[in-house]
Symmetry: D2
Subunit: 142 residues, 4 copies
């Protein structure tokens, strides 16, 4: 069936990020909300690695808002750390996409796990079926 | 037993917040990371409602970093919305605390659910047993 | 002449703000970019104090982007500080407005000065003459 | 004289930055406060280009807080833009440093000018004379 839920074991796309001073807080680490900015940067790079940009998706009248987020923070990430944020598609439904994330230290130690769920919306800001070209990229057949 | 896990059905503490322009993104809603700032403001008000401040906790040599976060976003929150963020303690363990959150619109519609897990750390940044005075406040006997 | 430059000595509008944990950095103070968020909150309250909202201005097809900002930081603002941000109109030109700001500690000590210049834009994102109703509010005759 | 004010015409150090979705606001541009984060990233790269890191400066007991900022925004910077932020030292005093910035579009058009003034502080958070090794780098003789 076409829109069967696809649970995937896809390839990670990696994004290097250097932690900004303004992303720290007085505890001396990166503030927990900033990881969600990094997840977003990684999603953008996921799109780029698959031949399009999230910007172009919006130009085409789609939006992919986050409807759920989860992150588990272990170990500290501090100013000027050269981290790697990796992202992959974990699940695809008719109109929804789950991305998984890992934040790694420069030496490759996993510091954070996370996921986000998104719903694809059309120009009227209603959920729409993921178009075939995008679905193919998401499930790894394109 | 003293440090038995306490699962609670505690009272909500409410914090009014007005959404800032800089908290929006080009989709026209509050960007998803900003909810985590609001959760933090609500936690601060939870402390205040219980007779202390998070600031004083740090002055006393404790830190309460976030080790896990989850949020489900439904419905949109936009610039200048007068939202209410409510928080309560959901669970207390030896060194860990779970807070639950709801974000409500001005008219009382629930827009977001969330939780955060925290570990209490001492000055050496190691997990420490929650002191009795704080535990009493958390489980609602003080 | 109608659109003569008006340099003003207007009344301050005051906005109380409590500094968020996520607004600090590892130096232990509020990070310098966050003051610009506070200035924006104060501008919103300026509008409200004058009988409209910035949100309604955008609904009416206007935008008021910042074209210049300046701030001088003296003294430190830290987590949980109850600060007051005050704002007033300093100058009005045909299509441009200058707001001035002061950030005060809870005890009234001035911590920061600043200003922003804005240009009023119409729906086509071009500078437009400030409409009379708004100009009257800005120069203090309404 | 050793600590004469040095006004400089120094070399620019360039930092590529891709604009994040969370840095936009509902007007569809990068929110004005985010430029100050970019200035900070550029300062960090300035240090790196001169053989040290701002992080190491703090490890050595120094801090370089911002005491003044100015920026003029012309032209819009939007999501996913590949901008270049360039920075150079504009002036050095006994304990104070002025950096200048330009934000360029991918095609090289200048979008923003700015500057920041900083005071070098020691571990006691008081202004201290800029040490010789740092001064030499700042004025371009090392």
């Amino acid at each position: 069936m076409r829109y069967a839920r696809s649970v995937l074991d896809a390839e990670w796309i990696e994004t290097p990020i250097r932690v900004r001073y303004g992303e720290t807080d007085q505890m001396g680490h990166a503030y927990y909300a900033n990881y969600l900015y990094w997840f977003e940067v990684a999603r953008g790079d996921w799109c780029r690695a698959h031949g399009f940009t999230y910007k172009s998706l919006e130009s085409d009248g789609y939006f992919l808002p986050v409807v759920e987020v989860w992150a588990r923070y272990r170990g500290e990430i501090v100013y000027d750390d050269d981290i790697v944020v990796r992202v992959r598609v974990a699940e695809v439904r008719r109109a929804a996409i789950k991305f998984e994330y890992e934040v790694l230290s420069a030496s490759g130690t996993k510091k954070t796990d996370g996921y986000t769920w998104h719903v694809l919306m059309g120009a009227e800001r209603k959920a729409v079926t993921i178009p075939e070209w995008l679905r193919d990229k998401l499930v790894g057949v394109a």
